[in-house]
Symmetry: C2
Subunit: 204 residues, 2 copies
Amino acid sequence: MTTTDETQTARPAGRPRSARAEKAIIDATLDLIGESTSLGELSIEAIAARAGVGKTTIYRRWSNKEDLVVDALATLKAPLPRLAGRSLREDLIACVEVFLHEACDARSRCVMNIAMNEFERHPRLVKRIRQAAIEPRRAALTALLQRGIATGELRADLDVPVALAALIGTVVWYVRGLDPDHQVIQEGVVEQVVDHLLGGLTPR
Amino acid sequence: MTTTDETQTARPAGRPRSARAEKAIIDATLDLIGESTSLGELSIEAIAARAGVGKTTIYRRWSNKEDLVVDALATLKAPLPRLAGRSLREDLIACVEVFLHEACDARSRCVMNIAMNEFERHPRLVKRIRQAAIEPRRAALTALLQRGIATGELRADLDVPVALAALIGTVVWYVRGLDPDHQVIQEGVVEQVVDHLLGGLTPR
DNA sequence: CTGTTTCGAAACTTTTACGTATCGAAACGG
DNA sequence: CCGTTTCGATACGTAAAAGTTTCGAAACAG
C-alpha cells in the first residue's frame, strides 16, 4: 500500500531460489527411489546428501516426502514415441522397444514399483501416478490394438485387456527373469516377442 | 558326568517351546511381508504384536530379521500341481490357473516382490529364494514347453524363455492392471490367456 | 549500502524400531 | 516339590530419520 501497486507480477525480493538445486533434488530423489524399493526407505537426509543440498532447501519447497515424490515422478512422463502407422507389427515393435528399455532402467522401473506395490499405503499418490503415467500409455496401446482389429490385422474376437497384458507383461517378465548377475539383453528380442504374440506359440 | 550319559537325544529340561507361537510368528511375518513391500519396512515389533507374542519369543528363535524371513518364505514352497499330461493346452491352463491365483494372493505375491526388488540389498537371501521357489517352477514349465515342441503342439522355432515370460508375465500384468478398487477376476480369463498366446493375436 | 530472501550446515526434538534385560507366571522333568 | 526353561509384557539404551530451528554467508532489489 506504500509505493507499489498490488497487481504486479509477484517479484519477490531477496535471493532467488536456485534452479540448479531444485534439479539436483529431483534427480537425487529419482535415483534413490530407483535404488530402493519403497517410499518408506526413502530418506530426506539421503536425498539432501546425494543432491549436495541442505535439508532446509528441500523443506522450503516441499512440505513432505509425498509431495516431493509426486513432483519428481511427474518429470518422468516419457510419452510413447510417435508411431509410424505403416503396420501394426511395426508400431507394436516400437512400443515394446520402449517397454524393454524402461524395464531395464532403474529410474523408469521405480514408477512401476510404486504404482504396483504402494497402493495400500499411498492410495492418493498411486492414483495420481497411474493417471499421469500409466493411463495415457494404456489408452494409446488400446487404440493401437483396436485399430488393428478394425484393419483386420488382429482377430476380431481379440480380448484387448489380455492382449495389453501380454505385450507389456511378457517384456517385463522377460527382463526380470534374467539372471541379475549378467543382464544381457539379447539382440532381436523385441521382434521375437511381438512375432510370438502375434503369430502364437503353436505352428500355423 | 553325574548320572546321565552324554549321547542322549538332547532332551532339554524346562518348559518346551510353543509350536503354536512359532506358527503364529511365521504367519504374521508372511502377512506383513505381503502387506508391506520391502524387508526394510518389516518390523519385528509389528510381527510380535500381530502374532500376539513377546519379542523375546522371536529373538530366542531367530537372531535377526533375515533368518526369520528365510524360514518364513521356506514354508511357502507350493509346488506346481500334478499335470494331467493329456494335452499341452490343458496342462498350461492348469499352470496358469495357479499363477493367476497366486498373483491375487498377497502372501504368494510377496515372494515375487522380494525376489525381484531386493537383490541389491540381500543378494544371498534372494538367491536362496530364487533357487527354492522360482527355479523349480521355471524348470517344470520349461520341460512342459519342450515337450510341446517335441509333440508338435508348439512351433519348432519356439523361443522358450520368451514363451515362459509370456505365460507368467501376461497373467501377472493382467491382475496388476485391474483397478485396485474392484479387483474382479473375470471368469474364463485363464482359458482366454492361454488361447490368445497359443493361437496368436492375429487371425489365422 | 540496506533490507530481504535463499543458501548449506549444523544442532535440536520427536518418533520409531532394534536388540537386550527384567519380571512374574506357567509348563515341563525329576 | 524344585530347578529349569519358556511364556508374554514391559522397560531400557541405542540408532536412524523426520521435521524444525538457528547460523553465517551469499545473492538479489532498490
